[in-house]
């Protein structure tokens, strides 16, 4: 369980201080897929980065499984981060390492013996369907394949929590659906709590159990995904739904089911 209590984050000090997150109160339950929805600049990236302290809160506390992590440093910080996997919009794979050695990277940091690292990485590559790509380099893979490698890498330390920062925003809609399916499977089969950051309504709808809508550094509303999207209260979410519906009117497939990445239509073709 991840609990935010009056969490604040600002950059700069004194007169130049600029608060990007104001008084965040939020509980993310074990085993759920929690979405943080918002447009760029809303503070969602900063919010998710406070969970593994890539960004340090400037006020309030964050508790993980009841333990205050806000001030963790040194060994404690290393421990915390090894329990939290993370994947990124641009995959952030090490270009000079093979697929296998990307996946073993977190285990290297943890000082695990080589045989154990390789065995675990091979198992994870099977899980994401890339067992035949172990000796390739990231530049030889498609965007979807690269994100699969990143997912395998994020799972290397058997984390209980995985942070997904716009994980499908650089992918086309078909690949987006495949990656979301894989993330869902990881959530169900391994019981990993997913914190999903997205600007895309369809991604939130597709994968999230609950969603928090964030705008201007505040959580403006929050709830079960279906309920929240059926009865939006905030203007920003209403507007987002209206524009996505308009998109769906054009993009809907034959079954009338929205296609995975419909709201991401503008991102199509970005895949390498």
């Amino acid at each position: 369980m991840i609990e935010f209590e009056h969490m604040k984050k600002s950059y700069g000090t004194g007169a130049q201080a600029h608060e990007v997150l104001h008084d965040i109160n939020l509980t993310i339950r074990d085993g759920e897929v929690f979405g943080i929805l918002g447009s760029s600049g809303a503070g969602k990236s900063t919010l998710v980065r406070t969970i593994n302290l890539l960004e340090r809160p400037t006020g309030g506390t964050i508790l993980i499984d009841g333990q205050d992590i806000t001030g963790a440093t040194g060994r404690e910080l290393k421990e915390l981060r090894s329990k939290i996997g993370m994947i990124f919009q641009n995959f952030n794979l090490f270009q000079q390492r093979t697929v296998l050695r990307n996946v073993t990277f977190p285990l290297e940091l943890a000082g695990k013996p080589k045989a154990q690292r390789v065995a675990r990485a091979e198992r994870l590559l099977r899980l994401v369907g890339l067992e035949d790509f172990a000796d390739r380099y990231p530049s030889q893979l498609s965007g979807g394949q690269q994100q699969r490698v990143a997912i395998a890498r994020a799972l290397a330390n058997e984390p209980k929590i995985m942070l997904c920062d716009e994980a499908t925003s650089a992918l086309d809609s078909t690949t987006t659906v495949q990656i979301l399916d894989l993330l869902r499977r990881i959530n169900r089969e391994l019981g990993v709590t997913l914190v999903v950051i997205t600007h895309s309504l369809s991604v939130a709808r597709n994968i999230c159990d609950r969603v928090a809508m964030i705008d201007g550094g505040d959580i403006v509303e929050m709830g079960e995904t279906a309920e929240l999207f059926a009865h939006p209260k905030s203007d920003i979410l209403k507007a987002l739904i209206a524009s996505a519906d308009e998109q769906n009117g054009r993009d809907e497939d034959k079954d009338g089911k929205p296609v995975g990445g419909s709201a991401d239509a503008e991102d199509d073709g970005k895949e390498r």
Binding site: N52, L54, L77, K78, E79, L80, R81, S82, I84, G85, M86, F88, N90, N92, L93, F94, Q95, Q96, R97, F105, P106, E108, L109, A110, Y137, P138, S139, R153, A156, N157, L163, R272
Partner: protein, 226 residues
């Protein structure tokens, strides 16, 4: 003149072979030692930068000064100015050993900037990813920055080697020998242009080989998307 090729080789062959050997040893060893000093300096310059993993403004500024001062002193002046230091380190200020000390001292700041440049090309997202898995500063330097920038570092090493190749000609003034020294002594001072010409041609060929090898090797180990 009017000598045959056989006579030329008999007269100057040994001299030119020795010169080639001296140049390669002097330049190669100096490059290596310049990297021993320059890599840590370049890494420190990088990681103490404002947005890097170990921001330290004062240290960054001081290191920047040292590097800039080192780079702004003309080599021939440095060569003479540090003679007492050179004697202290290698026991003499003459010959190949005597030349290597100023070569290393003048190249190290240059290497530091080259290394800094290469490390700056590493995607910040990779550093963030490594941090997210719990990497500490040392692990980020060794497992991410240096590994990811290796092809760029190799290209820089070829440039450094060739720069020192040029500087080593000036080291002839302390009797260090080498191809550049032969070209100056025989061509400039004794008007034996054929010897000078051969020494220059040998230099050109060596530089070409080193640059081509550097490019080939960097390409071979480079797995970045292009």
């Amino acid at each position: 003149m009017g000598q045959t090729i056989n006579e030329f080789i008999a007269n100057y062959g040994e001299l030119l072979i020795e010169g080639t050997r001296d140049t390669l040893i002097m330049t190669g060893v100096s490059t290596l030692l310049a990297y021993v000093l320059g890599v840590p300096l370049g890494v420190l310059l990088t990681i103490t930068g404002a947005k890097s993993i170990w921001p330290h403004r004062a240290l960054n500024t001081v290191l920047g000064w040292i590097v800039n001062i080192g780079r702004s002193i003309p080599f021939i002046i440095l060569l003479v100015a540090i003679i007492p230091f050179t004697r202290l380190i290698v026991g003499t200020s003459l010959g190949v050993e005597g030349a290597m000390v100023p070569l290393v001292i003048s190249a190290a700041p240059f290497v530091a900037r080259m290394v800094e440049q290469s490390l700056a090309e590493v995607d910040g997202g990779l550093i963030e990813a490594a941090q997210s898995f719990g990497a500490n500063g040392w692990q980020i330097v060794v497992k991410v920055l240096l590994v990811e920038s290796l092809p760029s570092l190799v290209r820089g090493a070829a440039i450094t080697f060739i720069n020192l190749f040029g500087y080593s000609a000036m080291a002839g003034t302390v009797g260090a020998g080498g191809l550049g020294d032969i070209a100056i002594r025989y061509g400039y001072q004794r008007y034996e242009y054929d010897v000078m010409l051969v020494a220059v041609i040998l230099s050109v060929i060596l530089v070409q080989i080193i640059q081509s090898f550097g490019d080939w090797f960097a390409r071979r180990i480079d797995h970045h998307a292009r």
